[in-house]
């Protein structure tokens, strides 16, 4: 949408809706989410637990867990629609065109096979290589992700690696077929800070060298600030704000983003109290009318209670907030009258 037509985006997500049918009605977990990722770009997706960020990632790689399902919208990779592909077709896209990295490196690896065997199997599934060629490629990948002594380590089993090394193996697996897009879901959350820095540096270098685009899903704003080019902030299944990472971090436009940035303890100013957003994110069954953030918002007006804002231009970013509409938020409301 925002990108010029002569440079088509690598990934295009339009009006994506993910829903969960339950006995008590259908829950809309991802509600009308649209964004795109340019080739070589790192898009950060940030939000608190339950905001729908992982579901968006899973919908893209076609791994939504039933009964969750895509209820509307479309996902296009290199212009080709991938959200309605049959399972076997999608399997070929996943791995070959899209790589995936998950939070827990131990559960993404098979404990019974050596990492070499897992790498070679993945390579041979997607590329027409002989066993010997595949092994050479596996070795190259292991060296590229910085595993010392790759020649001996290739025959080791996942339990013989530390957490950081395992995550490197998982990254190597994701890179096997030279994908155009990597969906990384909380890739550093399970790791220690010093290892986290190593993994982030590695991801950044690989993207630069291969021109791979990354969708980086995380709750850690620090990781996003260091890695991403653009960031999308999600709240209650929708995108609250999207823009260049520097602008979102430094000059947040949406009140939720402002609150979120303020609540992160920073090494900058040592304040007595952190900024806090009162209350909690609503459950999917209790999403309020109008703007989903309105009960916790300090800047809301009468319009926020009835009308749902869509993403609109706000400086260099786009924010889903009436503050940035010509009409404004409407008449101010007193807190007491609403809480009652």
């Amino acid at each position: 949408m925002a990108s010029p037509s002569n440079n088509p985006p690598l990934l295009e997500v339009k009006n994506l809706r993910v829903e969960f049918p339950t006995r008590r009605g259908t829950l809309l977990a991802v509600d009308d989410v649209s964004f795109d990722i340019a080739p070589g770009e790192v898009l950060g997706v940030v939000g608190e637990s339950g905001a729908g960020k992982s579901l968006t990632g899973n919908a893209i790689i076609g791994l939504l867990e039933p009964p969750g399902r895509i209820a509307g919208g479309e996902i296009r990779l290199e212009g080709r629609r991938i959200d309605n592909l049959p399972y076997e077709e999608m399997r070929k896209v996943r791995g070959a065109r899209i790589g995936a990295i998950f939070q827990d490196p131990l559960t993404s690896l098979n404990p019974l096979y050596s990492i070499g065997r897992q790498l070679i199997e993945t390579i041979q599934t997607h590329l027409p290589l002989s066993a010997a060629e595949a092994r050479t490629r596996a070795l190259d990948l292991l060296k590229e992700v910085g595993i010392p002594g790759a020649e001996t380590r290739i025959d080791h089993y996942p339990h013989q690696f530390s957490g950081g090394m395992r995550q490197r193996v998982v990254i190597a697996l994701a890179l096997c077929a030279g994908p155009r897009l990597i969906v990384a879901d909380e890739p550093t959350t399970a790791l220690d800070v010093s290892i986290q820095a190593q993994i982030i540096a590695l991801l950044k270098r690989l993207c630069r060298e291969h021109g791979t685009a990354v969708m980086l899903v995380t709750h850690d704003m620090g990781v996003i600030a260091e890695t991403a080019d653009r960031v999308a902030v999600m709240y209650a299944g929708r995108i609250a704000e999207v823009g260049p990472v520097r602008d979102v971090v430094k000059h947040a436009k949406h009140p939720y983003t402002k609150g979120l940035m303020g609540s992160i303890p920073s090494l900058g100013v040592r304040t007595e109290r952190l900024t806090q957003i009162d209350g909690a994110m609503p459950r999917l069954t209790e999403i309020p009318k109008g703007c989903a953030f309105n009960p916790r918002c300090t800047e809301r007006g009468a319009r926020c209670l009835v009308e749902r804002p869509d993403l609109m231009a706000a400086g260099t970013s786009r924010a889903a907030c009436w503050l940035h509409d010509r009409g404004g938020v409407g008449a101010p409301i007193l807190k007491e009258t609403v809480d009652a």
Partner: protein, 346 residues
Amino acid sequence: MPDGSTGQFVRISGLKRYFDVSAPWLVRMIESRPRQIVQAVDGIDIEIAKGETFSLVGESGCGKSTVARLVVGLYPPTAGTIEFDGNDMAGRHSRADMAALRRRMQMIFQDPYASLNPRWRVFDIIAEPIRAFGLSTDKADLQKRVEDLLRQVKLTPADGRKFPHEFSGGQRQRVSIARALASQPEFLVCDEPTSALDVSVQAQILNLMVDLQRRFGLTYLFISHNLAVVYHISTRVGVMYLGRLVEVAPTETLFTRPKHPYTRMLLDTIPDLDMTGRQRAPVGGEVPSPINPPSGCTFHPRCPFANDRCKAERPMPIAIEGGTVACHAIEEGRLPVEERTYVANS
């Protein structure tokens, strides 16, 4: 009980805790394998003054949670002493004396999902310490106390009738805090109380902890791996590496003039949210196994300033700028102490 002469509220000296993780005896005999001992905590000294927040930071496996558990008595120490308000916790005490001491210290755990009994109502969870220590015999008084506690942690008295699963993570952590406060303690040991929570909820809980500290004059031992949180909440900070304290310093000093190479490395890895353009230097290597820790200074395999002495001789803590640091390079003046700007100039 003799009163402590230093006036320190909590004094930990020479504390050690080893865990035996050997294979079973028969397997050891058949395969002639040696015993394996994890030196989780290997001789640390900490003094905490009344009303301050002392934080322990370090990576996973450095022994910081073990220290927390040793302090509240969940593990007996292998060696060393823990003195609480002048009383040696390992000394001979009558049951009643011990209970009176125990009442004054409480613990908050990391996982608010696992630390609350799912079959108990929140009212009973919070009332349990009051009942156990016999602080209230009267039903109406108990009711009133629990309701007050719920209000103090910003929940409502009506929440007492609910079960833990009806709450979100942040609310559950509030219940844990209310339970910890129920016995009117003076000293709270908090083991990663916010690391399972989202940042906006973490801010709420940290603010609550600061408010409660001011209100009741609490002393905190705060365990965390998150340096930004530690910077925000602590009076003094201790940095742990492989079961040893490598540096202790007042918070401002630690973050502006870090001394130990490991502290500097840890500070370098904090994500730069202020976009100061500071280069985050990823350090090589990982924390070695505490079963066979490196000789001498345990940090020497990852340390850019290590020499032969570091490989052979364990550095002892030396006093410097209101804190202590255990490093040969600092002691010999090989490594200059310099101003560092992790703190953005705003």
